[in-house]
């Protein structure tokens, strides 16, 4: 079943693979992606593409704020709100993602 923690873990894996290139670097779930230099200027667009393709949501322009997209926890919380507000979308626990079933 979908939980913020599992989504957070998946977002974290995406960040490590795509922006840290599998290097072991510690960052907390509240660390700022931009502030810590984890994600570069265009990285947020990659993150949005990942979220849309993986979770079948549409990220609106007004959603694109650091409050929604700048840490593991903020992304997970945003996704949770988004999923709860989207009627008829495929339940997250039935989606297959690169890391396996959530």
């Amino acid at each position: 079943m979908f939980t913020e923690k599992s989504v957070g873990q998946h977002v974290r894996e995406f960040i490590v693979e795509n922006f840290l290139f599998n290097q072991e670097r510690t960052f907390t779930d509240d660390d700022s992606f931009l502030g810590e230099g984890i994600v570069d200027s265009t990285g947020v667009l990659q993150l949005v593409t990942f979220l849309e393709e993986t979770y079948g949501i549409t990220v609106e322009d007004e959603d694109l704020t650091p409050e929604n997209m700048d840490s593991v926890n903020s992304v997970a919380a945003f996704l949770s709100r988004k999923m709860n507000s989207v009627a008829g979308s495929v339940p997250l626990d039935q989606k297959t993602v690169p890391g396996g079933q959530l």
């Binding site: 290139f21 290097q23 931009l34 502030g35 570069d40 200027s41 265009t42 990659q46 593409t49 704020t65």
Partner: protein, 670 residues
């Protein structure tokens, strides 16, 4: 235009002629028309010639009439006609019509101060037998290269590093601090080069070797004025002055005994130069350009428009992603340093096109961005500084959307993110490098790909402090705009633009570039201009656009600036096998231990997956690949170009000879 090299034995031994011959043989691409050497006791000079002025009389190394001075010279002295006349009036007698002989006579007259009188692009060495000293000089802006090193018993210099390695006593070893600097500034901080124990002579510097001691000094640098300077002159008058200077800078750069063509990129600078050239040479002008299949980078429509407007005979070459991957190893063979962009590759193909059309000389628009306020980094800094003065403003950061209109990744970002990326910390406003901090911080993130070993070795280096120590004492009195121009002019221009994209790509195909915007009179004029006339509000190259008015199509005069770029990392994933598969294999990465194998594999996987790629990803990929190719060619193969990658020799000129004939041994010696 040529290649030069030389040896001075420091303990009085005779020069090994074979060693000198091996050195100059590596520079055949710079001078395919003749290779000659001169040796006398402990000194040897060598020259590979590309004949452009005084085709018969300009052979080198050349001596003074009394045989006391010998010179080997790469470049052109554009005001040699006037200097020759002045010297004749002082009683000097000339045996040739060459600019080379003018340097010799001027040295006799003025000594080391002779360079102050030269208007041109040069790297030359004079052996002064009377004073038993070697005098070397490099032009003001660093158009022509000059490298040097020492062995246990000798001093060696050459136009390119590969010639130093060819002497057999110099080992190429990657300088990890140089790599660290490139992964911040895009260039090494001179005199550092990519290789340990090999230095470059700085632009605007001279060197003397005497009694085994090397002394270098600066004879010129651009000196910017406080903002109030020349504000008494009206914009109209300054526009006229700029136009007159540019006409003359172009006029003397057409002095040649072979035909001169022009690059036409479709932008303001090269179209302006082409227009000035056309007004001087008429309808016979040939122009050349490169176009891309990728519409994001292609400027063919503007190139055709400019050619039609100016009635030039135009030729172009199309560049695909696969082409870039195909020529890239050869490109690195010539850049002799890691690079972060593939942009030199299409220019390599363009120079080949020029050569195939029988041309040896082209005029280009290089230098305008640095001196006339053209680069986007100047606009970026202006907006950031404006915002930084009132950081709580919600309106000022909206201007960030005016940056980089050609970059979709930037344009699609909400302002909130642009604010995060271009943020201005209070301490940044006082930094001497304010304009460049976002670029350098972004580029420095490439260091995450370095291996633990390399990071441990380079972590103590403080490149910003080193750079700050090299700044002139007056730097702090200049406006932020002029400080930014200075950094571009003194570092990126010679360290990358004029070398990796300029001299090296053109000379790879025996083609000489000439740059009217880099006439020192133009640079000095521009340095005194008020910044508000270079960038009026956010209008880049404002005064230059006014000077070009009526001479070029209006659509080109007023189009937004699109910097020259090429497809980067994706070029190596277009379906054809190329150097990246070998050079970025786990085996190669582990062998050299420069980069982290796991991270490189993840980067390659990201490209292979087709996922969105960022600017940093592109720079990392090209930076890692070029470093690995450099290691392969210069360290593991000891300067021997890979035969499996070799793309072919320089093409022969179609009419009138000048065949490319590699000459491992000189045809004439003194």
């Amino acid at each position: 235009m040529c290649g030069i090299s030389g040896i001075v034995e420091l303990r009085g031994a005779r020069v090994d002629r074979e060693q000198l011959t091996d050195m100059i043989a590596t520079l055949g691409h710079r001078g395919p028309d003749a290779q000659e050497i001169y040796t006398a006791n402990g000194t040897g000079l060598a020259h590979a010639r590309l004949s452009i002025i005084d085709l018969e009389g300009g052979r080198q190394p050349m001596s003074s009439a009394d045989g006391q001075l010998w010179i080997t010279f790469n470049g052109e002295i554009f005001n040699y006609v006037e200097l020759r006349e002045e010297l004749i009036q002082k009683g000097h007698k000339f045996a040739t019509r060459s600019d080379t002989e003018v340097i010799l006579h001027l040295y006799q007259e003025e000594g080391e101060n002779c360079v102050q009188h030269l208007n041109g692009q040069w790297a030359f060495a004079i052996w002064d037998a009377v004073r038993q000293k070697l005098f070397i000089s490099r032009d003001r802006l660093g158009v022509r290269p000059l490298f040097y090193t020492r062995t246990s018993h000798s001093f060696l210099f050459a136009s390119e590093i590969k010639a130093l390695i060819a002497c057999g006593e110099v080992t190429a070893e990657l300088d990890l601090h140089a790599l660290d600097q490139i992964f911040t500034f895009w260039v090494t901080l001179p005199p550092r080069t990519a290789f340990k124990n090999i230095q470059q002579l700085l632009p605007g510097h001279s060197l003397v070797l005497k009694n085994g001691e090397v002394r270098t000094w600066e004879y010129w640098r651009p000196e910017y004025a406080p903002e109030c300077d020349r504000t008494e002159d009206g914009e109209d008058r300054l526009t006229e002055e700029l136009l007159a200077l540019m006409r003359d800078a172009t006029r003397i750069r057409l002095r040649s005994d072979v035909p001169v063509g022009a690059y036409l990129s479709g932008g303001l600078d090269s179209t302006f130069i082409t227009a000035l050239t056309k007004s001087l040479v008429g309808d016979k002008l040939r122009t050349f350009s490169v176009g891309f299949d990728d519409p994001e980078f292609d400027e063919s429509a503007y190139q055709r428009e400019a050619s039609a407007f100016l009635h030039t005979q135009h030729s172009d070459v199309r560049c695909t992603r696969a082409d870039i991957a195909h020529v890239f190893p050869d490109v690195i063979w010539h850049t002799e340093q890691p690079i972060l962009r593939t942009a030199p590759a299409p220019l390599y193909m363009l120079a080949k096109l020029v050569r195939e059309n029988g041309f040896k000389v082209v005029l280009t628009g290089e230098g305008a961005d640095e001196t006339m306020g053209g680069y986007d980094i100047f606009k970026e800094a202006k907006i950031r500084r404006f915002w930084g003065r009132k950081p709580e403003s919600h309106v000022r950061p909206l201007l960030l959307k005016r940056l980089y209109p050609y970059m979709d990744g930037i344009q699609r970002q909400p302002v909130a993110y642009l604010k995060k990326f271009f943020h201005v910390a209070p301490e940044d406003l006082a930094s001497p490098f304010f304009s460049h901090l976002p670029r350098w911080e972004l580029t420095a993130r490439l260091k995450m790909f370095l291996s633990e070993t390399v990071r441990a070795e380079t972590q103590s280096s403080n490149d910003l402090s080193e750079l700050e120590r090299s700044l002139p004492s007056t730097y702090g009195s200049w406006s932020g705009f002029n400080q930014a121009e200075y950094l571009e002019t003194m570092y990126l221009l010679p360290g990358y633009i004029l070398s990796s994209q300029g001299d090296r790509m053109a000379m790879a195909h025996s083609v000489e570039g000439r740059y009217p915007f880099l006439d020192h009179r133009v640079v000095e004029f521009a340095a005194k201009l008020p910044p508000r006339l270079k960038m009026k509000v956010l209008d880049q190259k404002h005064l230059l656009k006014r000077a070009a008015h009526g001479l070029i199509p209006r659509s080109i005069q007023w189009r937004f600036k699109q910097p020259y770029r090429a497809p980067d990392g994706k070029s190596f994933f277009s379906g054809t096998r190329n150097c990246a598969q070998d050079m970025l294999s786990a085996e190669h990465i582990k062998r050299d231990s420069i980069f982290n194998p796991g991270s490189v594999a993840a980067l390659v996987a990201k490209f292979e997956s087709g996922r969105a790629i960022s600017v940093k990803d592109d720079m990392a990929f090209v930076g890692i690949l070029s470093t690995q190719i450099l290691l392969e060619q210069f360290v593991h193969r000891r300067g021997a170009r890979s035969t499996t990658w070799k793309q072919g020799a320089v093409p022969a000129l179609p009419a009138g000879g000048d065949p490319w004939k590699p000459q491992p041994h000189p045809v004439r010696t003194h």
